[in-house]
Structure formats: structure tokens, C-alpha cells
């Protein structure tokens, strides 16, 4: 232990870096979203947070099913995760989500939101986070 401690103290870096993979597909490269109970899930990140999704009312997956557009407004990331968990419970197979930060949002908040979208305390939410542009 008396050897290992100085060795670790000498070789350890104060900064442990982690990476968040981003794949930027070219035009037409993005595979189409698989049909499911929850589709078109997107989160608009600004002063408040807006979650939008199209939810099929029927469990039968058809291209012409009845679709309800849902919009939920939350104030913080914990409430966002609770909302997303309810969507995940509706469609556990869905893994894709679009994050649309407004221009004024800073980098730290974008990374924190990406973390919040990928998983919560109960487990995985939507690990495939795409970044979008606010209209």
C-alpha cells in the first residue's frame, strides 16, 4: 500500500475525461424511425423544457393508426426525466430522441440535458440522442 499510494498520486490526472459519441449523418443517411407507440419524440431546451411526441392510441402498429400529439412543459431535468420515463413505459423499444436546444443555451446545459435523456435512476431512457435546430 505504501508503494501503491505514491505511484497513484504521481500518475493520476485530476481530470478524468469521458466522451459522448455523436454521429452526424449526411443528407439521406439517417435511417427512418421505426414505427412504434411513441414517435417523433423531441425535447426543446430553453428557459423551460418542452417535450413533444406523437403517441398512437392503439397498440396495433399500423401506418394509419390514430395518433395523438402530446406536448408537456416542465421546468427542470428531474421533471423531464419523469415525463420521458412515462413515454418509455409506453414504448420500451423506442431509443431515439431529438434534443433541440435554443441558441442561447450554454454547453454545460446541453451536456446535462443529453445525460438526462440517455438514462435516469431507473435505467436506460433514450440513448440515441440527436441534436437539432430550433425553428
Amino acid at each position: 500500500m505504501f508503494l501503491l499510494l505514491p505511484l497513484l498520486l504521481l500518475t493520476t490526472s485530476a481530470q478524468k475525461l469521458v466522451g459522448i459519441e455523436l454521429h452526424l449523418p449526411g443528407p439521406g443517411e439517417l435511417p427512418p424511425e421505426l414505427p412504434g407507440t411513441v414517435e417523433g419524440l423531441e425535447v426543446v431546451l430553453g428557459d423551460s423544457i418542452v417535450v413533444r411526441a406523437r403517441v398512437r392510441r392503439s397498440d396495433v402498429v399500423t401506418s394509419s393508426g390514430e395518433v395523438e400529439n402530446r406536448e408537456v412543459r416542465v421546468q427542470d431535468l428531474a421533471s423531464l426525466q419523469a415525463t420521458l420515463r412515462s413515454f418509455k413505459d409506453l414504448d420500451p423499444e423506442q431509443r431515439r430522441i431529438l434534443l433541440v436546444p435554443e441558441d442561447a443555451v450554454n454547453g454545460a446545459r446541453v451536456i446535462a440535458a443529453m445525460d438526462a435523456l440517455r438514462s435516469d435512476s431507473e435505467g436506460e431512457l433514450f440513448p440515441q440522442v440527436a441534436l437539432g435546430v430550433a425553428p
Binding site: M1, I20, E21, A112, M114, S119
Partner: protein, 146 residues
């Protein structure tokens, strides 16, 4: 013959004092092993640069890094463009970056200062995609960092 220094009786108290120190060292060892990292320190061109933190567990590879700060955009420590102009203008393509990466696309780390606005991040990502760079890793500080 009388001894000048009488032998000190061993009462066991010195061993008792050593036990908490061993406990302390064990805790320190576990802490260091948990946060152990050989990542080289980030030395961007801007001294005010600060990485955001993330809960991600993916390690980062040693590949070329693009730093986005409030004062400029740096590639491998060298300033390649300013940010103020692109923050004020509606122009999406950052021409200086586009020319560099069009000639040399490949994997890239993007290290974003925590205070940089998404408007700049968006323009940089757009420029990289247009130049043919599609494999990008956003770098952040692990929450386990010291």
C-alpha cells in the same frame, strides 16, 4: 551501570494509533483507484476554458481535438477562428474550419467550454458535417474526476 535513557515500555498504544492511519490510507487508496485516470490535462488556448461535466462512462481516445471557447476556436491548441463574428452573424458555415477539415476529415474530439452557447456549437457541427467529418466525440469531465 545506570542507563541514561530508560527503555520505553511498550504499552500497545502506538499500534492502536496506527490502526486509524491504515484505515485512512485504505480509504485514500480506494478513492484514488476509483478516480484514477491517465488522461493528459486539457490545455486549451483559452485560459478560462472549463469543460462541462457528464455522467457518461465512455473513455476518450487520443485523437485531434477542437476546442470551442468564448474567445475562439482552437485546433490542437492553435487558434483557427474567432467566435464573435459567427455568434453575431446568421452565416451557418464557418469557412476557416470548413477549409481545414475538407482537406483532412476523420475522427475528431470536440471540447466545448461550458459557457459557449449552442448557437456556436450548432454552427461548428454543421460545418464539420459539411466538410465530411461525421465521427465526433463531445468531451466532458467525468463526475468521478478529482
Amino acid at each position: 551501570m545506570r542507563r541514561l535513557c530508560p527503555p520505553v515500555e511498550s504499552t500497545g498504544s502506538s499500534w492502536a494509533a496506527l490502526a486509524p492511519m491504515v484505515d485512512l490510507l485504505t480509504i485514500l487508496l480506494v478513492f484514488l483507484l476509483k478516480s484514477w485516470s491517465t488522461d493528459p490535462p486539457v490545455r486549451p488556448g483559452d485560459p478560462d476554458f472549463a469543460l462541462p461535466s457528464s455522467t457518461s462512462q465512455n473513455p476518450v481516445d487520443s485523437i485531434r481535438a477542437l476546442d470551442l471557447t468564448e474567445s475562439g476556436i482552437f485546433l490542437a491548441g492553435a487558434r483557427v477562428a474567432g467566435t464573435r463574428y459567427y455568434l453575431d452573424q446568421d452565416e451557418e458555415l464557418i469557412q476557416e474550419l470548413y477549409e481545414i477539415f475538407l482537406a483532412n476529415p476523420g475522427r475528431l474530439q470536440v471540447r466545448v467550454d461550458e459557457e459557449v452557447s449552442y448557437k456556436l456549437i450548432r454552427k461548428v457541427l454543421f460545418t464539420l458535417r459539411e466538410a465530411g467529418v461525421t465521427d465526433i466525440t463531445l468531451v466532458a469531465l467525468s463526475r468521478d474526476s478529482l
